[in-house]
Amino acid sequence: MTTLTIGNRLDDKDAAEQSKYNRYNGITSGHRACQGCGEALAARCVVDVAHRVTGGNIAVVNATGCLEVFSCVYPENSWRIPWLHSLFGNAAAVATGVASAFVISGKKDMRVIAQGGDGSTSDIGLGCLSGMFDRNDDVLYVCYDNQAYMNTGVQRSSATPILARTATTLPVRGYMGNAAGTGKNVPQIAMAHEIPYVATASICNIRDLEEKISKAILLKGSRYVHVHVPCPLGWGYPPSETVRIARMAVECGLFPLFEAENGVVVGSTPIDNPKPVEEYLRAQRRFAHLFGKNAPPEIIETIQQIASRNLEKYRLSGEFSHE
């Protein structure tokens, strides 16, 4: 396609599933997500493309969290696929059970997605997730990472970026927010299990997201896709900016897009001209204190270094570039 848009009337060869008039809309209108919710958008992208690729043979297990709460409150259910919500910390294990049951009951074409936010993935559900990886259970786990506990009012999770303000990391004199040197990198944790497929994706690049999900959904064994989904409420930016913020995170290198197979990075989406992280940080209130009077001037550099390390680590200069 000549443009990087979701579709293009002139050229639908590489057009995203999301551009198709008959896309499935696996999560329908009427859900109660906030205006400009990145997670609602990402979830639809994931489910729709998985639905297409599998010929409708998918079931989804959803951890507790924003996505679950806004999509399925009696008497209104937004899902158009078989969907199961059990608990906050057990989605991966429940999905294991579901996947196994489909095999046992002869529904061999059914593919299973487990999905949850960063809290249920990197914190409370990490045990179950690791267990699922360990057994290489036949489940695609999708984490919608909005980098804090949004459902409960924006508290810190282990996916919260350093120096970010959350309700439990409120900057006060002498404390600049979520401490540097903390946090988990779940994609790397997943890779350490040497599962068949790990990828990161962002809602700013739906075609890439769909490509990864299409690939992941058909692979056997445990697969993990980590999707960056900005949250207007928790990050402090206008709802209209969701995609732009996601794009900025990718373009500065703070959220690298890559793929790994059996624990080894095999490809990454190159960044032509990496932008300074400052632009990305300034666009969000959760980082506003980093630009205040009392902020040490070198503090931005701490974050810039993370981005720079990513550039090198995931070879975002283009060595891995996709065809």
Binding site: I58, A59, T96, G97, A99, S100
Partner: protein, 393 residues
């Protein structure tokens, strides 16, 4: 066919006869032998078309089971004690989702202090979780109740927990009649889920329910449990018809017709109690025994009927609600109010403390409302003194 089997093996064989599609558990004493044996049966393909999943925690065990059951496959798990506490969120979840799974609870005390021996504290911690809870007295009954458990669960669309005394039953070798696969198949037909994850009819299972409807959901769960009383009884009768054994039902009575004092208890301790009663009655006393098989739903009506004529009801139980007292005892107090003059409580066997005939005989002679069977007064006296002095300061 008769076998001399360890209780765990008997349970495993009974579960296998029910042809589950999923067995998933995490090791914890004293439940381990059950799932070890099931694993062996599955891996040897004596139980086929069934997945055995080794998980990393009880939370995962119950969760995998929830998943497979929700996807329409008969599912089974087992745990004990701390494991049950660790999976407790899932225990509530399974019943809230109305998933008819079956779980064996190898009854064991709860720490701290850590203690691996038998009592009923673990079961009592989930008594309000919405599961049907059945307490077998023997290993034969343990095996039989598992077969009935699947039937009850699937009839009611409600999970069932079979609470088997850890070690006392799970590790005891006894004679057990293991029925033929054909008979079990006949009794327990192939599982047809009433709702499940299905691409052809994509339901959402596990919604959030707001205040406007939550009360109704809980009310319906309550009504369903009460309705289960009939079904449990009926399944017990059907089982008798099929297998010619009285296993199951709500309660069982022993020599209660002429009894003045009736002892109420659950689980394996009933055998020792019955022997004690026989010995006492041989000396001219008038004791009877009522076994509570179905603890949840609580058969208040049946118990009232069985105990109405007693002058004295003694509840022997292996659990204690700290700060309140006997749990089964309290649950019986209300139904028997104004019917039975005297009710007393014997807390026995906590943390695996032996319950012997002589201890029971001694306790039954005491005229006390609450007795801790075999309590070492010397050990506690000093501490109690200390507590008192602290409080007085």
């Amino acid at each position: 066919m008769l076998h001399q089997l360890e209780g765990s093996q008997a349970i495993a064989k009974a579960v296998a006869l029910c042809r589950p599609g999923m067995v998933c558990a995490y090791p914890i004493t004293p439940q381990t032998h059950i799932v070890e044996h099931l694993g062996e049966l599955i891996h040897a393909e004596e139980l086929w078309n069934c997945d055995y999943v080794n998980v990393e925690s009880e939370m995962a065990a119950i969760s995998v089971t929830i998943g497979s059951q929700a996807a329409g496959v008969r599912s089974y798990t087992a745990t004990s004690s701390q494991g049950l506490l660790y999976m407790q969120e899932g225990v509530y979840n399974a019943s809230g989702l109305e998933l008819p799974m079956v779980m064996t609870l190898g009854n064991r005390a709860i720490g701290s202090p850590i203690n691996i021996w038998n009592d009923h504290s673990d079961a009592m911690s989930v008594r309000d979780a919405g599961w049907i809870m059945l307490f077998p007295e023997t290993n034969q009954e343990a095996a039989d109740l598992h077969i009935q458990a699947f039937k009850i669960a699937e009839t009611l669309q409600c999970p069932v927990m079979v609470c088997v005394d850890g070690f006392v039953l799970t590790h005891a070798y006894e004679r057990v009649d293991i029925p033929s696969p054909e008979m079990v198949d006949d009794f327990l037909p192939h599982y047809e889920p009433r709702f499940c994850l299905d691409a052809a009819n994509p339901l959402a299972i596990g919604t959030m329910v707001p205040p406007e409807y939550f009360m109704e959901v809980r009310y319906l769960a309550h009504k369903k449990q009460l309705g289960a009383l009939k079904i449990i009884e009926q399944v017990g009768k059907d089982f008798y018809k099929k297998f010619d054994r009285h296993s199951g039902g709500l309660i069982r009575t022993y020599k209660t017709e002429e009894a003045k004092t009736i002892i109420v208890a659950m689980g394996s301790v009933l055998g020792t109690i019955k022997d004690t009663v026989d010995e006492l009655n041989a000396q001219g006393e008038k004791y009877g025994v009522v076994s509570v098989v179905s603890y949840r739903p609580f058969p208040a009506e049946a118990l009232r009927a069985a105990l109405a004529h007693a002058q004295h009801v003694v509840v022997v139980e292996k659990a204690l609600a700290v700060g309140t007292g006997g749990i089964l005892f309290q649950e019986l107090e209300l139904p028997l109010k104004n019917i039975v003059r005297k009710i007393s409580s014997i807390i026995a066997g906590l943390g695996g403390r032996a319950i012997t005939k002589s201890m029971l005989k001694y306790a039954l002679k005491q005229d006390e409302r609450e007795i801790f069977l075999g309590l070492d007064q010397n050990v506690v006296a000093e501490k109690i003194q200390l507590v008192k002095s602290c409080c007085c300061k």
